[in-house]
């Protein structure tokens, strides 16, 4: 098998092709039925990861590669999760400081007394 490269039954391509359509429709439905907040985010991420997983695994033949290549390509992006998590953490902090000290945007609005929640005492 491996001697002649990545050659696989055509059936599996059609199967994945179909599945990608199904997942796309499903994530589209998430929007159409206006799911909100956590359920929405959860479903979006699930369908996104399913689609991405099938594309990488079958279309990009990752499923048939040796574990050496798979780990070498899929492990390094994990550091990006650290970046993502920390920047999200900080964005909340910066947002709170804007609300407390700049009072949000647009016209002056009646403000509650600052709680200084942004800055830990």
């Amino acid at each position: 098998m491996a001697e002649v490269g990545q050659q696989h039954p055509i059936k599996v391509y059609f199967l994945v092709w179909g599945l990608l359509f199904v997942f796309s429709i499903a994530s589209y439905m998430v929007d159409y039925f206006e799911f909100k907040e956590h359920l929405r985010w959860f479903l979006i991420v699930v369908f996104m990861l399913l689609k991405a997983g099938f594309i990488v695994a079958v279309f990009m033949h990752m499923k048939w590669e040796r574990p050496t290549l798979i780990t070498a390509i899929l492990v390094p992006p994990l550091v990006l999760l650290v970046l993502m998590y920390l920047l999200a953490f900080e964005a909340d902090y910066a947002w709170a400081s804007r609300i407390v000290y700049f009072g949000g945007e647009v016209d002056p609005i009646p403000l509650p007394p600052p709680t200084h929640a942004a800055v830990p005492h």
Binding site: A2, E3, I55, R66, P67, T68, I73, P77, L83
Partner: protein, 224 residues
């Protein structure tokens, strides 16, 4: 080495064996393919940096963030359908991924005419994707008044990130179309007749990656 992949040793042992061996680390992976994979890894960091920046800036906004579902809706049969064009674009890209996968498969069967037409179809689907994106940009700029630096519906960064991220993705698609056409023509002319058709697989890796990025953009920009 073909046997090594088939034997029943665990993945960890395989990894250790491969990394400890001489000559090649990624067994049965040609140079070009290894290089493309590493390039795609680097490109992943580019797109993720874009998306993480988008997240960080959007979360810091005190201005309203427009509801993309409404912004990108399209009139069809008299009623606005949310994200209609985006849905079509998504399906086009998935379809092109399918034709590309078939082209790779045909390539390893050395059916070069089939490879040519499948790659050509992939390129045309990609070109129509770029065309629709151009339409969407026009609609957003002239119709909704969203510019890269301003946005009548709220935070100006909505337009900035939209144009930057989809633009950068669009550039990847356009480059991919050119790349596909060049390789397709070379295949047809018989440049690879005496060697392997791995170039088709390498092109395919790039094209699937472009599709993969769209999956993330679709989820985080249009649906979130």
């Amino acid at each position: 080495m073909a046997e090594a992949a088939q034997t029943n040793q665990g993945p960890l042992t395989t990894i250790v064996d491969d990394w400890s061996s001489d000559v090649t680390t990624f067994k049965a992976v040609p140079w070009g393919k290894a290089m493309m994979w590493i390039f795609l890894l680097s490109d992943t960091f580019i797109f993720t940096s874009f998306l993480v920046s988008y997240m960080a800036v959007r979360m810091t906004q005190t201005d309203a963030w427009p509801y993309p579902s409404e912004v990108f809706s399209l009139e069809a049969f008299g009623t606005p359908v949310p994200l209609l064009l985006i849905a079509i674009m998504t399906f086009i890209l998935i379809t092109s991924s399918g034709t590309m996968a078939m082209a790779v498969n045909m390539g390893y069967r050395k059916r070069k005419v089939a490879v040519f037409w499948l790659m050509f179809a992939t390129a045309m689907l990609g070109a129509s994707f770029v065309g629709m994106q151009a339409f969407e940009w026009t609609k957003l700029i002239t119709g909704e008044g969203v510019k890269a630096w301003q946005n009548p519906m709220g935070a100006p960064q909505f337009g900035s990130f939209f144009f930057m991220i989809t633009g950068f993705h669009g550039l990847h698609v356009s480059a991919g179309v050119a790349y596909l056409l060049i390789v397709a023509i070379r295949v047809l002319r018989g440049k690879y007749d005496n060697t392997s058709f791995e170039i088709v697989e390498i092109t395919g890796l790039y094209w699937h990656f472009v599709d993969l990025v769209w999956v993330f953009i679709f989820a985080f920009f249009y649906l979130w």
